[in-house]
Symmetry: C2
Subunit: 473 residues, 2 copies
Amino acid sequence: MSTHPLEELLHPRSIAVVGASSSGRGGGFVNPLLEQGFKGALYPVNPKYTEVLGLKAYGRVRDIPGPVDFVISSIPAAGVLQMIADCAEKGVKLIHLFTARFSETGRKDAAELEQEILRQAKKAGIRLIGPNCMGVYYPAEGIAFNEGMPKESGPVGLASQSGQAVGEITGNAAQRGLRFSKAISYGNALDFNECDYLEYFTQDPETKLILLYIEGVRDGPRFLKTLRAAASVKPVIVLKGGRGEAGTRATASHTASLAGSREIWNAVVNQAGVINVTDIDEMVDIATAFQFLPEMRRANVGVVGGSGGSSVMAADLCEEAGLNVIPLPDEVRQELKKQGNAIWDWIGNPADFSISMGDESSADAVTKLMARHPNFDFIITFVSGPWRRDPESFSLEKHLARYSLNDIANKPVVMVFQDRPRYPGNSDDMAEYDKIVEQMKVKFIQDGYPMYPNIKRAASAVSKMISYYKKRG
Amino acid sequence: MSTHPLEELLHPRSIAVVGASSSGRGGGFVNPLLEQGFKGALYPVNPKYTEVLGLKAYGRVRDIPGPVDFVISSIPAAGVLQMIADCAEKGVKLIHLFTARFSETGRKDAAELEQEILRQAKKAGIRLIGPNCMGVYYPAEGIAFNEGMPKESGPVGLASQSGQAVGEITGNAAQRGLRFSKAISYGNALDFNECDYLEYFTQDPETKLILLYIEGVRDGPRFLKTLRAAASVKPVIVLKGGRGEAGTRATASHTASLAGSREIWNAVVNQAGVINVTDIDEMVDIATAFQFLPEMRRANVGVVGGSGGSSVMAADLCEEAGLNVIPLPDEVRQELKKQGNAIWDWIGNPADFSISMGDESSADAVTKLMARHPNFDFIITFVSGPWRRDPESFSLEKHLARYSLNDIANKPVVMVFQDRPRYPGNSDDMAEYDKIVEQMKVKFIQDGYPMYPNIKRAASAVSKMISYYKKRG
């Protein structure tokens, strides 16, 4: 059990949303909590309403009858000091300030107000998340900040300085089957900062993999120490916003962060043993490899199911990403010959099935033989939607029957979805195709396969995971 | 007018599809021709049928009553010599051999049959496209090899050694608004080879931009000369399949190509002034920049419409791609102040509107002022789907009204579609959202904007186009 101060604070008995309304972003915080099934008491606070989304609303925090542990503030900045005084009276322990327009505006009075808020909160023993952020997603506690966030928990912990990024990362990740222990957006880092969140996730037994989107570091030496400590026990993937000149200017006005140089950053994170990424797709891709694949230290890949040019390009892109696309072992070829396979002398790695002339058992046989051969460490397989000219396969069940992956469960399998050529204007046909494709993806992800939109991203993500485990020995 | 031999051959009075049937790939060639509205005579040939897709079918090519200029062969390899004899008798000028299993199998008898086919065709004065390829897409002539290919012509000419790649490129390109003069897939390059197609597109007045997917080169010195000549008159984007060891093995079994080393290839194409890409997304991204943007030689970009972290990351990714994200000029800031803009002192470049608190006129004003300021060469603007919690904007018209881009037509505008956070399971809501997003994209593409799925790909593509024009001076 973690003894980090956040541990207790993130298990509130009750939550008050100050500035709640039935629509807009204030209501936006009430609705996700309702939808996520927060089990404690939930109090909308807004003097303008007597009811918000079916819940009794209160004029001020101090009007709430029961105890209030956690407050989400979506009122304008000018009202925050008064609200903190109320919270102090109520014994509130934690405030998430969605409220913005503080130091990030670059204005002196706003920065001073921010500091005064910190002083008042400290005096009252109240801890702060934010300001200028989306706050907490903790599915096991029924806490969420967006509608539709998955209710299931998972191994991924995320701290994101940006509220936009926390939405994009959790959204993209959820669609890939990634699930979160918790995700916290922390904005201007006025009280709890990047080091606190990192320490929390490092200790947290629910978190097996840490993602961090960070714009500025308040205390360089402590951050490096914290990052090293985190990376020594769990994989850490870091995306730094504000790497160059323009980005550094942007972080100042976004979260009032002082960014450093790209070179120093890269040196620091490499030294710490952290995986350094430059965009959200890359972060989610690598996290997908970590969540779904075992610890892998060798990179000999068998690539199957591509066709023609895509097999050739797959070979190039895998090699350029650092994977070894080894030649098909002669034993496999001899075994195919023994089985009477018509293209036994032609097939290679990547195994291109464009001339198998519809003989699906051929693709199947090669996949299984590759998986059984000790030279291959894992398989990347292309999957695709049903062919519209083949009405036989134009259903989820019939099409899934093409992929008999149960027999190769002894080797890790990575999936790449390869779209069929599609042109604009065939929308009726494509709606049915898209539906089957969506169901296929959901099914394969549920079955535990990492799924990528193309071979380049698959190869790069898996290769980076392998490099990580190799370095750790 | 081009005097290249392909020029006359690609305007056939009639087409016969040998091996045609009402379903499967043979029928697959008849149906696209019907759908595309080929104006000449169309003859299915198959002794098993009297009719194919409503057209009278013939037993053999020599049974066809009228003249036959162009034959598409989708019969097995064993029947090709007999078919060529028939074609010789009929005075056929061009055969596209979809038929495969020749030299790419690595088998001696298959390679010998391929050579015999070439000899017989030469003797009869018949030219060959292929074998082992998809053949010709020429919308102005009503010739297509896939269903749903756009009927409109455009400036892009494509030669692709791979049939899979020609489908993927034309499909992805069509969705981005790219349109083709013609696209030819040429497989094993038995007769016409990469140099012939390149020379054809170089001379072709309908082609303003040449794309090439190539696996092997038959004649190195001629290829280099041809590539240089092409690049001296039109932009040429080349994707080489078979750059590494595994890819080279794969090209041999795919199109019987002998690939060279990655280093030699890179040296050759750079020397020739060609744009060298490594995957299809990159090829289509850069082609989109060339088709939609004017000749640009300076890279000072204004980035607008992002929000929070995405603005910060946009700055980083633009700079890392080679664009200059210049600071917002003071004149623009002073003008915003004069207009009474509440965040005049806060806004920068990228212009982040996350604290504009719904004041859309602010985004609008900054965009226009950036576009008018001489320091900016072009604008990258984020567009996104409507916010589900804002029923007001949840229609195409109302949502499009947010983007008043008419007033900034004096500067090139590049669009990046930024998805809203989406989680699995909200499919009903999302279907409506997706529909609006799809319509938005179609509208903006029709209006002539290059559209990218993310800022990284947008910045990289535009930067590469600018580098190309700068080099050419």
